[in-house]
Amino acid sequence: MANHLAVGLGEIKVSRDLSDVLVAFGLGSCVGVGMYDPGTHVAGLLHAVLPINNDASEEFQAKYADTGIRLLLDMVLKAGAVRSRIVVKMAGGANMLTAPGFTNSFDIGSRNITSARNTLKELGFRLASEEVGGQTGRTVRLYVPDGRMTIRMMGGQEREF
């Protein structure tokens, strides 16, 4: 039976235990970035809240897409992943508040997506797949045995992306 490891707000979880599934529940404007090495089955999932870490404090690195992705990479490499084999996928970054007056100032989802894409590009990674934007939250799962990533939206079925 699969063991679900919840990845909370501003957290990173890394595992190479084949019975584990990494899950970020209900990502709204947050982004979930998954890294997976199919050779060693090392999997890591980041649940980033905000786009850019301005004060670069050690403590909250995983809360920001830019520093969080770098930390995630460090952690999966330390766990034994081989950089050249790492597959990266991303989901989330919805624009939750769509009422008049909120849209522009609160579009943190889009900014998270942009920041994550830029950071991955700087690190030389290409996104294998992404499920981003829109106005609906998503639960994101990363299956350690095969690196499969899935999303599920409110009232919907789980599906791979």
């Binding site: 909370g8 501003g10 709204g28 809240v49 939750m96 508040l97 009422a99 939250g137 639960t139």
Partner: protein, 207 residues
Amino acid sequence: MAELTPEMNQTLLENLRNIAKEGFRNAARGFADMIGNELSVWNPDVRAIPITEIPEMLGGPENDAVAIYLRMTGEVSGQIVLVIPYDKALEMCDLVLEQPYGTTQNLGTLERSALAEVGNLAGTFFMNAMAEITGITARPSPPAVMVDMVGSILDVVVSTMGDVGSQVMLFQSTFMAGERHTQADFWVIPDTFTVEKLGQHVKGKHG
């Protein structure tokens, strides 16, 4: 970043409870007028809790919920969110629209508008109470209705706080409408830098 120390929390919490109690009572009064029904306020409280614990308080991050969201701006700023489990939100629509329970099956434009009005009322009455007690005034934004997973709704709250403080101040209460057991959590989350200001004002008046 205005970090909330334990000592600061202690004093602040005591002071903020006055606002919470009066604010919730006021909000309930406004809401009761709207639905023409008595409404009771249960367990009004203020707590400082780690952000990461919020989803569990609503039965888990993947639970479906409805949130009516307002920003308050002015001398103090923050977020006001009325969070209702999805099935309870359907019941609340029936209550507000004076229909028998079970009539509302999904949330269309009319239902969302009714819920927005509920949040609007609750938020406004809360701010009025705050102004009466502290002399601090704030204005509400128009309400936004979100129907989504609890975790996603909380993303908005957390990301709007901006500085990602390790704790949030949470004003929480449950409203019960007679035997119909309509229930909602009402959260007021002052921006971190305004929490201290709120506390000082209350202290000045009562202490």
